[in-house]
């Protein structure tokens, strides 16, 4: 048995016991204490635009049908027949008015209500013997949305999603609310990697330090002009509410010039100006920071980048949303979606999709090298020696725990939370502190 009190105290001082990235005992705790309680992203309302549209998504082993009912409401229904437990929906997406269990034929409307039992009268004595009223597929214990992003929690007493996200919602708007129409989501690409789920979440939350090394090749081939070592350390990381992320420092200029620099056409810039708050506009226009990668605890990540997609100087921004869905302590299913502003011009949507494919996802030239690192780390973390190694995750802290760089004052960073310029592992520590809080709560 691991000495958990000691493990969590090491994590909190930024020295990470290496085995937490590949440990059955830790994973059992995570199932209950993290994924049994936290808000987990499962999809976006734009994936189920019409009544009857559904997608099937999992929270670890639990399968949910995320369906829009005839009343227009989106629900998440536990995909298990009330009778003998078959999955009532075995497709991954589609449109259906009903879900009929293939085993004995119990059928449910797309809002979850049980409407049909074969031989109801003969076998159950009809409505008097077994009233169908009130019988529904189990709904997700908690379901909530923000900007159309659908989250569910297995905890019926989960706090409201907006409280859970806290000030991170401010930053989530850059990715998911560039216009009042919000985003449309396409995908996901799904693939399994032999890596622990926490590594991707930590990387996206704050690892600006890896960019110049891991992603050297994409600069060399002209895909990306940003990740020069000097460039990346001029950016800021921020932590706010239940998430944090990284930014790039933009060249001097007005709001419009800076948004044009990352490739947004004027028509989208005008809409952003009408959609975002003064503080949201100030982070870009006044302070010169543009959001890049980010994570929300536990396993949702976002990324915004602006590569070249053709042999020209033009850059095209793209947005990806992904979850690191744990399969086991050493295996993760990545679900990676492409997101784009629903009101964006069609040409922009096409080229932004191209930019996404070239950079992230199953074929992305950034992501390919990231995953290689994470698989290697996970494999090594499973051995006996990893139990004797504390990984140094203290970047940005002096020996006596004072910080190397002071937080940016509000006059230089208009966003909420705490932001600092330069390399640091503040956000990775924040994320693992949340993780330790969850694991300790009822351990």
């Amino acid at each position: 048995m691991t000495d958990q009190a000691r493990l969590f105290s090491e994590v909190r001082r930024g020295m990470i016991p290496a085995h937490i990235y590949n440990d059955e005992e830790i994973f059992r705790l995570e199932r209950e204490q993290v994924f049994g309680r936290a808000w987990v992203f499962v999809g976006h309302e734009s994936e189920v635009p019409q009544p009857g549209d559904y997608v099937v998504r999992r929270v670890l082993a639990d399968s949910f049908i995320v369906a829009r009912g005839e009343d227009g409401r989106v629900r998440a229904l536990f995909n298990m027949c009330l009778h003998r437990g078959m999955q009532v929906c075995r497709a991954e997406m589609g449109n259906a008015s009903h879900f009929r269990c293939p085993y004995h034929g119990w059928s449910y409307r797309n809002d979850g209500r049980l409407v049909g039992l074969p031989f109801h009268r003969d076998a159950y004595g009809g409505e008097a013997g077994f009233p169908r009223k009130g019988q529904t597929l189990l709904p997700a214990p908690s379901l909530d949305t923000y900007n159309g992003l659908i989250f569910l929690s297995l905890d019926p007493d989960a706090p409201p999603l907006h409280d859970y996200l806290g000030d991170f919602a401010f930053y989530l708007d850059y990715y998911t609310r560039q216009s009042p129409g919000g985003i449309e989501l396409r995908g996901p690409q799904r693939w399994r990697i032999r890596a622990n789920w926490k590594i991707g979440a930590e990387n996206f939350a704050g690892d600006m330090y890896h960019t110049p090394q891991t992603h050297t090749s994409v600069v060399e081939i002209g895909l990306f002009r940003e990740p020069k070592a000097e460039k990346r350390k001029d950016g800021a990381t921020y932590w706010a509410g239940n998430g944090g992320g990284t930014t790039y420092k933009l060249p001097p200029g007005t709001l419009e010039e800076r948004l044009r620099y990352v490739g947004y056409p004027d028509v989208m810039i005008e809409t952003m100006k009408q959609t975002w708050s003064t503080a949201q506009l100030d982070v870009v226009g006044r302070d010169g920071f543009m959001v890049s990668a980010a994570s929300v605890f536990p396993n949702l990540s976002l990324v915004h980048n602006w590569p070249r997609v053709a042999d020209s100087e033009e850059v095209l921004p793209f947005i990806s949303i992904r979850t690191w869905q744990p399969i086991g302590p050493d295996e993760t299913e990545v679900l990676s979606w492409f997101a784009v502003d629903a009101q964006a011009p069609e040409r922009f949507k096409a080229l932004s999709y191209k930019a996404y494919l070239m950079c992230f996802g199953s074929t992305g030239m950034f992501e390919q090298d990231d995953v290689e690192n994470w698989v290697s780390l996970t494999s090594t973390a499973g051995g006996a020696m990893a139990r004797r190694l504390l990984l140094n995750s203290r970047m940005g802290l002096l020996e006596d725990d004072t910080e190397v760089v002071a937080p940016l004052p509000r006059e230089r960073f208009a966003g909420p939370g705490v932001a600092r310029v330069g390399y640091g592992e503040y956000n990775q520590r924040h994320l693992l502190e949340r993780w330790a809080d969850h694991l300790e709560a009822r351990a």
Partner: protein, 193 residues
């Protein structure tokens, strides 16, 4: 297999030429040429000789690998709408190839051991004698390092081959890769099919 280039948002530039009639006899000279072309290509891909591979692609190539999804029988589609793994033109393929030629494409350094097993080749004539449509199955075995489990990727492909100017050989003008998994079991697609 219907053409996927048309619904792809990035496939507008691709040749729309389709097969006509049934598969050609295995003794047909065109089939022999197409089959040989695929075998030669498989050896280039195994050896990761991507500079030579790029030379086999036309300037207007569309290289598409849709995301497969599990849908009900009768749904009418089994690929994710508007999403692919690869949706490439010559430029983006050239960037991918160029990346592997840098010293910093860590995911393939050390390189994977690759074997593209090619099978079930069928060749079809088209209305244009300078174009052939070729179906094939491919099973890629990918092994990395010493302790990792190898990855298998099984796919069907529909290729459009175009006769080289001067008539001496063939180039790939369009490829659709229908992968047989909805969830890929490999760490990335730093390979080509």
């Amino acid at each position: 297999m219907s053409a996927h280039s048309a619904p792809s948002r990035l496939g507008g530039h691709a040749s729309p030429i389709q097969r006509s009639g049934g598969s050609l006899p295995f003794s047909d000279e065109r089939h022999l040429q197409a089959h040989r072309w695929l075998v030669d290509e498989a050896y280039l891909l195994d050896a990761q000789r991507y500079d030579a591979w790029l030379e086999l692609l036309t300037a207007d190539i569309h290289y598409l690998m849709p995301v497969r999804v599990t849908t009900a029988l009768g749904a009418g589609y089994d690929c994710a709408p508007g999403m692919a793994h690869f949706d490439e033109d010559k430029y983006s393929l050239s960037r991918r190839a160029a990346r592997f030629c840098t010293q910093h494409a860590w995911t393939e350094d050390p390189p994977s051991r690759l074997r593209h097993h090619l099978t079930n080749v069928r060749t079809f004539a088209t209305a244009d004698p300078d174009h052939l449509v070729v179906d094939s199955g491919v099973l890629l075995y990918r092994s990395r390092g010493d302790v990792r489990e190898p990855a298998l990727i099984s796919a069907g492909r529909e290729d459009l081959l175009r006769r080289m100017p001067g008539g001496t050989g063939w180039l790939l003008a369009r490829r659709t890769i229908l992968v047989d998994d909805a969830v890929l079991r490999t760490q990335n697609l730093a390979i080509f099919l």
